[in-house]
Amino acid sequence: MTAALPLATSDWGYVWANLGTLIAAVWPALKLTGAALVVGFVVGVPLGTLEVFGGRRSAWLARKAGVVVRGTPILVIMFITYFGLGLSPAFVAATAALGVRSAAYQGQVFRGALQSIGRGQMEAARSVGLSKLGAIRHVMIPQALRRFVPGFQNEYTIVLKDTSIAFAISYTEIFYHMYNLIPEQTTATPELFLTVAGIYLVLTLTGNRVLDYVDDAFSIPDGGASR
């Protein structure tokens, strides 16, 4: 029974011996996370904009597409891209799946950001003669992007953790290795878990710090007044 608790030195030894593999897997995990977030951003921002400012039909379509994607488990989406549609290699299928999911969620975050900007900004932009498209492009979107960062930080954490599901399509990120190391020495599972947990926590914390920095760099000065 003691072997099951994270106290056995032989188990930590096992983890230590394989630590290199685990840490090397950080790069594939981050690569996948980054790719998915980019796809999600490039598709999600227009989607969110369409939902708020699109004509009745396109706004409806954008909304319904989002509902369908957000109502489907990422596991299902990924198996459809990999086994169903046959996208390959695993990185592409995983990026497509995570990207589509992220687009649906980033679309919602951006929609919220757009809607949080008062109507007055749109009115002012139109009153100066800007077309609807011009107003959206030059006035609404720049402001919405700045309100987008906290939601994006949340999304980063979620996508990073979801990359673990790519293990099921044999993409060699972090969890894939934990999955393969367990059978050799099942007693080391708690130790493996704690190590992997540590890795994910470090990635989450540093990632969020970086995004905090981005947020500060792009924020609009307000002479000290808090927003």
């Binding site: 099951a4 369908v68 109502g71 596991l75 299902v76 954490t157 979620i158 953790k161 599901i165 994910y200």
Partner: protein, 322 residues
């Protein structure tokens, strides 16, 4: 400012949703009860529609798919059409099988969210009011929220043999309708996961309530606990509805991960169907449809709850999960 036409469309949409959702749930309930009693009306996995219908749909689907092969865009269009028609047959044939497995999905979700809530409340209280317990709660919450759910499930399944053993040896486990040991492990895993997220949602919604509310309550003569119970909580719970709906949707979707610790839920069954028919896309799309129905009906139900308890001026904090 929505026009009358937009409002009518929205009402129509909601009505359709309620009817369609209700119909699906009735069908699900029928299939569950039917299978629990060993197949009273039809075989547990036998479709209600006749074989001939399934065969016709499949046949038509194949035929359509073969039309215009080689012609650039037209071939694709017919392939899609054929796939869709074939999907109708496929869904009719394998739908019942997935429906029976969906019962576990519902059980996992409901048990996890309810018991998770019971654990989350004291956790949230510790986070807000505790001294030492504050840090214990924080470590627990951050550890659970910062690691992938799959990793947590594997930890419990492989890394806690005493747990598996204990459950296996409980009377009745794995016999009859009592789920096997893997299901119990999955339930525990989801409970732990959900409790951490719900604790954060509760903490957030309690903090959304203006501090002045409790002050005013005290000024009127209510004690701290009474103030929380009669003034803060009613508001906090309303603020929490969107997050709670989020959590419900999350659990419905991520219950699919239980497949990796051999739980025979909806996704496992869909995967099995895919492997045996080689119609992987159809199988996973069918699974996706099931999840979608569960998610959409659950969200709809929660929005009705929200409307029923709504108070003007209270509500609408916003948080999100997966």
């Amino acid at each position: 400012m929505s026009t009358g036409r937009e409002r009518r469309h929205a009402r129509l949409e909601r009505a359709l949703l309620a009817v369609a959702g209700g119909a699906v749930w009735l069908w699900l309930a029928f299939r569950w009860v039917n299978s629990w009693f060993g197949g009273v009306v039809v075989g547990p996995t036998q479709p209600l529609v006749p074989e001939s219908f399934v065969a016709a749909a499949t046949g038509t689907g194949d035929a359509l798919g073969a039309v215009a092969n080689g012609v650039p865009v037209v071939a694709q269009a017919f392939d899609l059409l054929g796939w869709t028609v074939g999907m109708v047959g496929f869904a009719s044939q394998y739908g019942p099988r997935l429906a029976v497995a969906a019962w576990l999905t519902v059980v996992l979700t409901v048990v996890a969210i309810l018991i998770g809530l019971v654990i989350a409340v004291p956790l949230a209280a510790a986070r807000v009011y505790g001294r030492v317990s504050k840090y214990v709660a924080l470590v627990y919450i951050e550890l659970v929220r910062g690691t992938p759910l799959v990793a947590q499930l594997f930890l419990l399944y492989y890394g806690a043999p005493f747990l598996s053993q204990f459950i296996r040896e409980l009377p009745g486990v794995g016999q009859g309708i009592v789920p096997g040991q893997a299901v119990w492990i999955a339930i525990i895993g989801f409970i732990i996961n959900s409790s951490a997220y719900q604790a954060e949602y509760i903490r957030g919604s309690v903090e959304s309530v203006d501090a002045g509310q409790l002050t005013a309550a005290r000024a009127v003569g209510l004690g701290q606990l009474e103030g929380i119970r009669y003034v803060v909580l009613p508001q906090a719970l309303r603020y929490a509805i969107p997050s709670w709906t989020n959590e419900l949707v999350y659990l419905i979707k991520y219950s699919s991960l239980a497949t990796f610790i051999t739980v025979p839920e909806l996704f496992t069954r869909a995967d099995a169907v895919g492997s045996s028919t080689f119609a992987y896309t159809k199988a996973y799309v069918l699974a996706g449809l099931f999840y979608l129905v569960l998610v959409v009906t659950a969200s709809y139900a929660m929005s009705r709850v929200e409307d029923a308890v709504a108070i003007p001026g209270v509500g609408n904090a916003n948080d999100r999960r997966g």
